[in-house]
Symmetry: C2
Subunit: 368 residues, 2 copies
Amino acid sequence: MNRTYFDKLVAEIGKKGMDAMLIAPSADLAFLIGHMPLFCLRFQGLFVTKEGDYFYVCNLLTADEMREVLPNKKVYGWFDGEGFIRATKQALMDHGLIGKTIGVSSAVRAFNLLELQEEIDIKFVSARSLCAEIRIHKTPKEASDMAEVARIASEALKRTIPEIRAGLYEKDVQEILVGHIRKLGADGSAMVASGPNSGYAHYNSNTRRLIKGDTVLIDFGCRYHGMLSDITRTFFLEKMGEKQKEVYSLVKEAILAAERVIDQGERWIPAIDRAARRVIEQGGYGKYFTTRLGHGLGYMPHESPDIKQNNERYLEPGMAFTIEPGIYMPDEFGVRIEDCMIMTPEGRCRILSDALSKDCLIIGQENA
Amino acid sequence: MNRTYFDKLVAEIGKKGMDAMLIAPSADLAFLIGHMPLFCLRFQGLFVTKEGDYFYVCNLLTADEMREVLPNKKVYGWFDGEGFIRATKQALMDHGLIGKTIGVSSAVRAFNLLELQEEIDIKFVSARSLCAEIRIHKTPKEASDMAEVARIASEALKRTIPEIRAGLYEKDVQEILVGHIRKLGADGSAMVASGPNSGYAHYNSNTRRLIKGDTVLIDFGCRYHGMLSDITRTFFLEKMGEKQKEVYSLVKEAILAAERVIDQGERWIPAIDRAARRVIEQGGYGKYFTTRLGHGLGYMPHESPDIKQNNERYLEPGMAFTIEPGIYMPDEFGVRIEDCMIMTPEGRCRILSDALSKDCLIIGQENA
């Protein structure tokens, strides 16, 4: 049990006016209890009360395993032949939670909740971000690990760039990059989207072969001491067309605009999204910038705070996040540039990926 | 779009008294539309109405991709900066679904549903098994493919048995078996649990090394023409203790008891569960038989009907399922024997895995 974060979670449950929280197997649960049980369609999850008590409900298949994991060994096992309702109701009664308000984490399944609601008087509310909220302010140790992993990531990409050539498959480039990350002492994964594939913000198949003139978008993450980096750079292979140049310039201007307003003291998240989005809209490509501007980062690749126009909060010391404007023209090409950054204890913004240039780069040339 | 099964789904929605069904990305969705979009935490899903109309709601990231996939191209894309509520509400209004009852499939996330309910007048109900219900009666073609895949699976295990030896890792045995499956023209996966690991019904790490005296439990599935087999056999390595012999006999008696009552005409599912469970209870190991007796099988490894005491329905022609009694003593050892079977159009039960003996077998002996 990660006691520090468990205590933060308990405090947050109370602050949000809930009586308890239900966390189903997920990265959030594994972070908290240090274990990831197999999660089939059978109901299971950790209930944490606002008083700091906790218990686990699961099928008998998983009950012994969870008793080993949880310090207080409070596990309510249910049997296939009976279903999960009775054991869950008993657990909620034992902890005075009947009639109370329970927040649900992002991995809880809707049909389980509907079946519980039919039989038990409980008010469920969405608490999708609460597990992320407790990790939102990075400690000095977490911050320095994030700086280190971003340094490793930047170095790995620098070593990869000279090896990218026409004729390689996206998968080859991915493996070269992941290899460099490993040699530098971290774990990593990478998405390489070339040519028309770069026009899809969520492309992730890595099966195409690179040819001259391709846009090559590389989005990759590294993990070191549990902390993550998340960086994207986009290159052009051997040559660059006028439209590629225009689009790249706009995306670069957009990320610089966001970084500039933060540097000048802007802390309101919607205004940061606006600063970048305005550049792309004014350049005539607004409808191709289909995503939020960025997202929180830390132990998991997508944490709080989201950097988007409807997240009306302010950047605070310790928050870590990415800024990643992009222009995606499906089946044509796309450009994304992504930096990761953190707010220092003094409230300044430090760009963790600034060892990597954001200048337009033509790669893979014979005499390079 | 799999039109045959789509039409069955539409009929089933009406029969269940629902106005529509929401199916999130999952094996169920992929089966229906032939495509599996990436499913991050952003809300998305296919709505199917009881009139046979359908539409998809997803983030702009996935909207173009889904328009390519869906014949009617009705896709409502939502933007990160706004959230998913407005687009979903618009879609529901356009299809007259405000105030109506919508069933949710097993992959729908609870927090999404809670957020929708806060803003839109909709009654959601659990429809966890509805997608499985439409596949519950196998066609003659599906039935013959299931017979063929069980034949391949049985042959693959027969070829594997003589190769199992002390000193191999569980993972080695797994790879030998999967190799034989592939050589026989099918795809496969296998779980090998040896010694104390066999005492966990859900064990799946495959990292232990086999030693003399081990119980070796092998649970494996093959796929052929889209249809699956699911079979388990348990062996003893080089020697067998008295307790292993006793437990094996009980499990074997239990599966034979279930198969006997079906053969004698029993069609009520709870009675079949009881027939097997009674044997193990009377043998004094009832508390170690922690699972349901079996589950439906077909396109997916767990379909309808569940074979368990609280599934109060009857076996019907075309239903395919497994029977898998087991005794699991954590950290000591466990035994499971699993057959897969199908009800013929004439209403007889055909055991598809009967080429594999259920007799107690000591393997890995030097002179074997």
